[in-house]
């Protein structure tokens, strides 16, 4: 029954204390919101917590959803705000160095078995650079590239979600890829 309903209809039912309706919203968007949080935060545990907080915040603010925007836009805005809050919290803690070391170990452990140790090391270093480069992008650029790569959204969907023109989405993505390239070319020299 719930699978045939639109997001907006599900939200209207959830406002009337229909928990199953909100559960269907969570099922529809959990992977995409988790991907967005992962792309924004570049860490699994933080992405999981941010996604959890996103859905809790959405549930608590169901009545504030007026239907002027799409449910996807509403959820994405909440998720991005949660990610930014997490980023600010991490910045104050200043644990980036230790976190990078932890992720390094996890990444090596998760590497495919067919790769040689040298390849694993090289690939791990490159992934660390990519993660760092994406994380250092401005929020609006990072958001677009994460929505495109991690959520597989079309330009039109991103435009609708962010409520910006289609050309703006494309130019932001182009700028993001360009800055990312510059950062990836420059970071190894900075690390060395």
């Amino acid at each position: 029954m719930y699978k045939t309903l639109t997001d907006e209809e599900l939200v209207a039912m959830a406002v009337s204390n229909d928990q199953e309706a909100f559960g269907e919203i969570v099922r529809r968007w959990e992977r995409k919101i988790f991907a967005l949080c992962f792309g924004m935060l570049t860490r699994e545990d933080e992405a999981r917590d941010a996604a959890q907080e996103t859905f809790i915040a959405a549930f608590k603010n169901l009545k504030s959803f007026r239907g002027e925007a799409k449910v996807s836009s509403w959820l994405h805005r909440i998720a991005v705000n949660q990610c930014l809050t997490t980023k600010r919290r991490n910045r104050t803690r200043s644990e980036d160095f230790l976190d990078d070391e932890t992720n390094e170990a996890e990444r090596v452990f998760m590497a495919p078995a067919h790769l040689s140790p040298s390849n694993v090391t090289e690939q791990g270093e490159r992934l660390g650079l990519v993660r760092h480069a994406v994380g250092s992008l401005p929020v609006d650029l990072r958001q677009v590239i994460v929505m495109k790569e991690f959520e597989d959204m079309t330009f039109q969907e991103i435009s609708d979600t962010l409520d910006v023109p289609l050309s703006t989405v494309k130019s932001r993505l182009y700028t993001a890829l360009k800055q990312l390239k510059m950062k990836l070319d420059r970071l190894p020299m900075e690390v060395a």
């Binding site: 204390n17 928990q19 988790f34 991907a35 992962f38 959890q52 494309k170």
Partner: protein, 227 residues
């Protein structure tokens, strides 16, 4: 912005590079863009740089994110019914509308004034219900007034010659006796007004000469009663 021109080297829309990169360019524009790339080295370099960045992000996603399972999110389904405290209820009462709040406050003032007026009227009615006290004095005294024996005027005016002391002879060791001083001289008694009722005080009389208050008489009276 300029459109591509596959016959020239004029570069144009940067957005077309990402649109082509992600496969969202319409077929006609896609063919035109591919033809343009064959002849435009700057656009080819731009496209290669964008593709390299995209591949890096794609690789990172594939290695780090794709193996992850979607976590199970637990939503605390608390009741959406708001819980009001008494303060919030009071606020809500006055937030329903300024006119209603004004009318409520006015009604409250009227109620308080009315209660005060009613209370004042009731207290006046209670006072009016109490019978007035006659000006002539008390109507009657139900309790008997104790009568005090009053001596005659002559007895008061009779001069006292000298105090008489009763001497008791006994073998008990002698104690220093308190001197008894005669009071109630003639001049003092004469000053008393004739129409005033004089209540004798015990200290004004010599207990030896005042027979009306002697204990021996009382004892004898009790003895006579017993007989």
């Amino acid at each position: 912005m300029q459109k591509f021109n596959k016959t020239s080297l004029i570069c144009s829309d940067d957005d077309a590079i990402v649109a082509y990169l992600y496969g969202e360019l319409p077929p006609a524009e896609r063919d035109a863009f591919e033809d343009h790339l064959l002849v435009c080295i700057p656009c080819t370099d731009e496209f290669a740089a964008a593709a390299d960045s995209r591949y890096s992000v794609f690789e990172w996603k594939k290695m780090d994110f794709d193996p992850l399972e979607t976590p199970v999110f637990s939503i605390p389904y608390i009741s959406q019914q708001p819980s009001y405290t008494w303060v919030e209820s009071l606020k809500g009462l006055f937030a329903t509308g300024p006119r209603l709040a004004t009318a409520g406050a006015f009604g409250l003032v009227i109620a308080v004034l009315g209660f005060a007026f009613y209370a004042g009227s009731f207290s006046r009615l209670e006072l009016a219900a109490i019978p007035a006290v006659p000006e002539s004095g008390l109507v009657e005294s139900p309790a008997p007034v104790p009568t005090i024996p009053v001596r005659s005027q002559d007895e008061y005016q009779k001069p006292i010659s000298e105090p008489t002391l009763a001497v008791v002879k006994d073998n008990a060791p002698k104690k220093p006796r308190r001197s008894v001083k005669a009071i109630g001289s003639k001049s003092t008694v004469a000053q008393r007004s004739a129409d005033t009722v004089q209540v004798p005080r015990l200290n004004d009389f010599d207990d030896l000469s005042d027979e009306s208050l002697r204990l021996a008489d009382l004892v004898s009276d009790i003895g006579s009663l017993d007989d």
